[in-house]
C-alpha cells in the first residue's frame, strides 16, 4: 500500500518572516542571557549562539513582539518597517 506522509520541515507554511510588520532588534550588550525571549517565542525563532546569547532567525520570525515584551533588560526593540519595504 502506498502511503502519503508529510515530512517535518522548516517553513511548512512558507517564509513566515514575510508576515512581519515590525522587526525585533536585539542589543546583545544589554542582554543578561536569561533566555526568557527564547522560552516565550511561540515560533522557536530564537536560538542560542555560541557564548550563550540569543539570536533571532528572521526568515521565520513573525514579528509578534512577545520577545520584546518579556525581556527584563529591554534588550529588544520592535522596529516598524518602512512603507512598501520588504523586511527579510
Amino acid at each position: 500500500m502506498k502511503s502519503i506522509l508529510s515530512k517535518p520541515s522548516e517553513g511548512a507554511s512558507g517564509l513566515t518572516g514575510m508576515w512581519r510588520i515590525k522587526r525585533p532588534i536585539m542589543d546583545t550588550d544589554k542582554c543578561n542571557m536569561c533566555m526568557l525571549c527564547w522560552l516565550y517565542c511561540p515560533e522557536g525563532t530564537i536560538t542560542k549562539r555560541a557564548g550563550g546569547k540569543p539570536r533571532i532567525v528572521y526568515e521565520y520570525c513573525k514579528g509578534c513582539g512577545i520577545c520584546a515584551e518579556v525581556c527584563p533588560s529591554k534588550a529588544i526593540i520592535m522596529l516598524r518597517r518602512e512603507k512598501g519595504a520588504v523586511d527579510r
Binding site: S9, G11, A12, C34, C64, G65, I66, M78
Partner: protein, 304 residues
C-alpha cells in the same frame, strides 16, 4: 507540586519547526512547542480539527517532528485509546500518546469520547488548549467561552457560564487533572512532566488556558500579559488534583485572599471581546470570580 522545571531543564531541541501557519503571538503554538520539549520525540500526537490541525500543516510539509494522527473532530480521545491499544499489542513501551485538542473539540463535540476514555482510564495524556471559542472557523462560542465574552455567535456577549472540563474530569477519578496557562510555560511544563512520569497508568488531563490575539481581540505582543492577568486576577486558577486532593500552583498559591488578586477589570479591559461591557457587567463578573474562589477554597486541603 514537588518539582518545578526551570528554563535550563528544557531542551534546546525544537520539535515544532519554525515557519508554521499559527498567527503571530499564538499561545497554542507556544504551548505545543514547550510540551514537545518535555515529552520528547517518542510521542504520538492525536489532533482533531482545530487551529493546531492547521498549524500542523498541509501535505507535503509539517512543522511537527513527531508523528501526528489527524482525526475527526469528535474522536480525539477515542483515536488516542486506539493508539494506546495498538502500542500495547505491538509491545512498544516508552511511547507516549498525547491527545491535543481545542476547547470546542473537548468541552463540546469531543466530550463523549473523552468521558469514555476517562472511564476506561486509558493510559495517555490529554491536553485541551482552551482559547475559549471555535477559533479556526472564525470565533464561534463554545461551552468553554466565558460569560459575557463577544464571539461571532454571541454578539452581545455570551449569556451562559464557562463549562469546567477539569471538574468533569476530576469526577471521573482519573490519576491526574491540572489546569495551566500558556503565559506560565514552566508551570505547564512541570505539570506535563508530572503527568508523564506518574508510575500509575491511566488518563492524565491538563486544561491549558491559551490566549488568542485575533479571537480575544488584543495585539499579538500582549499574549503573555493577558495570560498572566487571567491568573493574577483570579479569573483562571492554576491547580493540580491527584491522590484525591487539590493543590494550588504557581502564582495562584498566593491568591486565596481577595486583596492579593488584581481587579478583574485589568484582565477584561485589555481585550476587545469584553469591550462592550458596562460597569455593572464588570462588577457582576468580579462577583463570579470572588464566588468561584470561595467555593474553590473549600475544596483545598480536602483529601477524599
Amino acid at each position: 507540586m514537588s518539582s518545578v522545571l526551570t528554563i535550563k531543564d528544557l531542551t534546546e531541541e525544537e520539535f515544532t519547526l519554525p515557519g508554521n501557519a499559527a498567527c503571530p503571538g499564538c499561545a497554542a503554538a507556544l504551548s505545543l512547542r514547550i510540551a514537545l520539549k518535555v515529552l520528547g520525540p517518542k510521542t504520538i500526537m492525536i489532533v482533531p480539527a482545530s487551529c493546531i490541525s492547521v498549524i500542523q500543516g498541509y501535505y507535503p510539509k509539517t512543522p511537527c517532528r513527531v508523528p501526528v494522527l489527524n482525526v475527526a473532530f469528535a474522536s480525539t480521545a477515542a483515536a488516542g485509546s486506539g493508539a494506546v491499544a495498538a502500542l500495547e499489542l505491538k509491545g512498544k513501551s516508552g511511547v507516549k500518546v498525547l491527545c491535543w485538542a481545542g476547547d470546542g473539540g473537548t468541552a463540546d463535540i469531543g466530550l463523549q469520547a473523552l468521558s469514555g476514555a476517562a472511564e476506561r482510564n486509558e493510559n495517555m495524556i490529554y491536553v485541551c488548549y482552551d482559547n475559549e471559542a471555535y477559533m479556526n472557523t472564525g470565533t464561534q462560542r463554545s461551552g468553554a467561552t466565558p460569560r459575557a465574552a463577544f464571539t461571532t455567535t454571541t454578539v452581545t456577549g455570551k449569556l451562559e457560564r464557562k463549562k469546567s472540563v477539569p471538574e468533569i474530569m476530576i469526577a471521573h477519578r482519573i490519576p491526574y487533572v491540572a489546569t495551566a496557562c500558556a503565559a506560565f510555560p514552566l508551570d505547564f511544563a512541570s505539570k506535563l512532566k508530572r503527568a508523564e512520569s506518574m508510575p500509575v497508568r491511566g488518563l492524565k488531563y491538563i486544561h491549558l488556558l491559551s490566549p488568542c490575539p485575533p479571537g480575544w481581540r488584543f495585539p499579538a505582543e500582549k499574549t503573555v500579559e493577558v495570560g498572566k492577568l487571567a491568573v493574577m486576577t483570579g479569573m483562571w486558577i492554576l491547580y493540580e488534583w491527584y491522590d484525591g486532593g487539590y493543590n494550588l500552583t504557581g502564582p495562584s498559591k498566593a491568591l486565596l485572599e481577595k486583596s492579593r488578586r488584581r481587579p478583574l477589570k485589568d484582565y477584561l479591559s485589555i481585550q476587545g471581546r469584553f469591550g462592550h461591557l458596562k460597569e455593572e457587567d464588570l462588577e457582576s463578573l468580579q462577583r463570579d470570580v470572588d464566588e468561584h474562589w470561595e467555593e474553590f477554597s473549600k475544596k483545598l486541603g480536602i483529601r477524599a
